[in-house]
């Protein structure tokens, strides 16, 4: 790994690739894992050979040679293949998990060829979270790796704990994983499905749409369509019913689909549009409410509102407000009026710093200029706060997933600032502290946790390389690409 060791804070720019410090342990792990895989395949082979033999013998005796070639093929090949490949995970995710039968789900996944042996511990942790099992601070729990399954477990835990912003940050990171970072198909299907269902249960349709975007499968597709329809997008009833027909959980989703299809069939064009708030006060609160619901706020909307506020809070308006303050008996009416303007500006800056879209380089007026400057300052302050939480010295006490989530906080703040076109300020911050701090953090995480953190470390180094490229730091680009490559090798 190129960069700081866990025993030092300094970062070297001299390229030196070193192996993971826990490589000998990893080799022993591979050996154990190999034995485990061999035993697993032997059990599969023995069990399915018995099942296949019994099916063949029973059906053969019952049919007494009367079956045609197609039926024989279906019974002799297709059915056993389906039983072997699909049935175990179907039982695990469609039968055992909804009923809280975690052990059965774990056994079924152990029996499934669709589940890699290395994913089994993380999958078991996900079952615990999906079944709302109480957290168990056991050794096994602490030894879990950071990977897509544990990340989804953390997202589900956050979502059910009403920490929607944290869940969104994880989903966003999973949506932009670098090529090579594993996101198993089953996790995309069933792991994401649990997140989408959690959002649908509390009628948070925008969150359901965001979560469904990283998912696969028929149920995710159906929920995404329902969520889009509920948030106002036109949905063809025919398509909705077709999706419902092919998706699982038809009995549960029927009322939702029926209500949506009836609504769209009754008045597809005549549905009254929600009246948009007109004045700046109402628009301001509408944007605050949208932000509180974790909906995506467009920077253009905030800036348009700021233009409206510019006239509602101009000098004559502030003079009237100051006069009213004096009428009410407040001292220093002008200062009171200025405090109202300051409050509005602060809230707008908060909205703008969290909004999507570029901030203008040449704002329209002085109010907008003050707003954009303050939003940029808040974005940079958020980066510095997140950076301060990434302490390489404390990495030994942090779980790799926890360390990854701390980095996600910084990642979100940094990318918001990038969208705000604060390139010179970011370049200065990168060279002053961010590069070395992040580098030390990722290297310390890798040295401390080894292969358990490889997935997280790979995503961090890949992101660091991209950021280095953005600010034109070629040395950091090369070093981080090399580190990402080494971390990726540790993943395999």
């Amino acid at each position: 790994m190129v960069g700081a060791r866990s025993d030092g804070r300094a970062v070297t720019t001299a390229g030196a690739a070193i192996s993971f410090p826990r490589a000998p342990a990893a080799r022993r792990g591979v050996s154990r894992a190999g034995m485990f895989a061999v035993v697993r395949v032997l059990v599969w082979t023995a069990l399915w050979a018995i099942v296949l033999r019994n099916i063949g013998a029973s059906v053969g005796t019952w049919a007494a040679g009367s079956l045609g070639p197609v039926t024989t093929f279906l019974i002799g090949v297709v059915l056993p293949a389906w039983l072997f490949v699909v049935l175990p995970t179907w039982i695990a995710f469609r039968f055992a998990v909804p009923r809280g039968m975690r052990r059965l789900a774990a056994v079924c996944c152990w029996m499934s060829p669709l589940v890699r042996a290395r994913d089994l511990p993380s999958l078991t942790a996900w079952f615990d979270v999906a079944a709302d099992a109480p957290a168990r601070p056991s050794a096994g729990w602490d030894d879990l790796p950071a990977d897509a399954w544990t990340a989804l477990a953390a997202a589900l835990q956050a979502d059910r704990g009403r920490a929607a912003a944290r869940a969104d940050a994880i989903v966003e990171a999973l949506a932009h994983l670098p090529a090579g970072a594993r996101f198993p198909w089953l996790a995309r299907r069933h792991g994401v499905e649990a997140l989408v269902v959690s959002a649908v249960i509390r009628r948070d349709w925008p969150a359901a749409v965001r979560h469904a975007r990283i998912g696969r499968g028929r149920l995710n597709g159906l929920f995404e369509l329902c969520a889009r329809g509920t948030t106002g997008e036109p949905v063809a009833p025919g398509e909705l019913w077709l999706r419902w027909l092919v998706a699982p959980m038809r009995r549960v989703t029927f009322p939702l689909v029926r209500a949506l299809a009836r609504r769209d069939a009754a008045a597809p064009a005549a549905r009254p549009a929600a009246a948009a708030p007109s004045g700046p006060h109402a628009r301001h609160v509408a944007l605050l409410r949208a932000a509180a619901r974790h909906e995506v706020i467009d920077a253009g909307d905030v800036l348009a509102l700021a233009v409206g506020w510019g006239t509602a809070l101009d000098d004559p308006a502030l003079a009237r407000l100051g006069a009213r303050a004096l009428e009410l008996g407040a001292r220093d009416g002008a200062a009171r009026a200025a405090a109202v303007r300051e409050q509005v500006l602060g809230e707008l800056a908060l909205l703008l710093s969290c909004a999507d879209g570029e901030l203008p380089r040449a704002p329209a007026d002085s109010f907008c200029a003050a707003l954009v400057g303050r939003a940029r300052d808040q974005q940079l302050a958020a980066i510095k706060t997140a950076l301060a939480a990434l302490d390489a010295d404390r990495i030994s006490t942090a779980h790799p997933l926890e360390a990854w989530q701390r980095w996600l906080s910084l990642r979100a703040a940094w990318e918001r600032a990038e969208r705000g076109a604060a390139r010179p300020a970011l370049a200065a911050l990168w060279r002053a502290s961010a590069r070395d701090g992040l580098w030390s953090y990722a290297c310390a995480l890798s040295h401390q946790h080894g292969a358990r953190a490889a997935w997280a470390v790979f995503t961090m180094f890949d992101w660091l390389a991209d950021r280095a490229e953005y600010v034109g730091d070629l040395v950091a680009v090369l070093a981080n690409r090399e580190n990402a490559r080494i971390a990726l090798a540790g993943l395999r």
Binding site: Q157, V285, H399
Partner: protein
């Protein structure tokens, strides 16, 4: 595996502050005098103490919300301070379209 994270900006509190504008809580007009506000507050406290159903909710531009004696007392206290009243009055006027 509960993970702490610094992802949340507390917009909920800002929205709540707007919805709990004292003029909405007391169902008083923004131009109401101090005496009218006191009377409205005392009347609502009496109605809430008597369990009058109509007093348990108040209307805002964002929908009806629950009214509690604590909220009413806080609203009365807020409007006794002229500087604080100015801000609440300005928001109430803007949100209701009052002149």
């Amino acid at each position: 595996m509960t993970i702490a994270g610094d992802f949340d900006v507390d917009f909920d509190n800002l929205v709540r502050a707007r919805a709990e504008n004292p003029f909405f809580v007391l169902a008083a007009a923004p131009e109401a005098s101090a005496a009218e506000i006191e009377r409205a507050g005392q009347r609502l406290l009496a109605e809430l103490a008597a369990g009058f159903d109509g007093a348990r909710r108040y209307a805002t531009p964002f929908g009806a919300r629950e009214r509690t004696p604590e909220l009413v007392r806080a609203a009365i206290a807020e409007l006794r301070d002229p500087a604080r009243r100015l801000g609440h009055e300005w928001w109430a006027r803007g949100l209701t379209g009052a002149p």
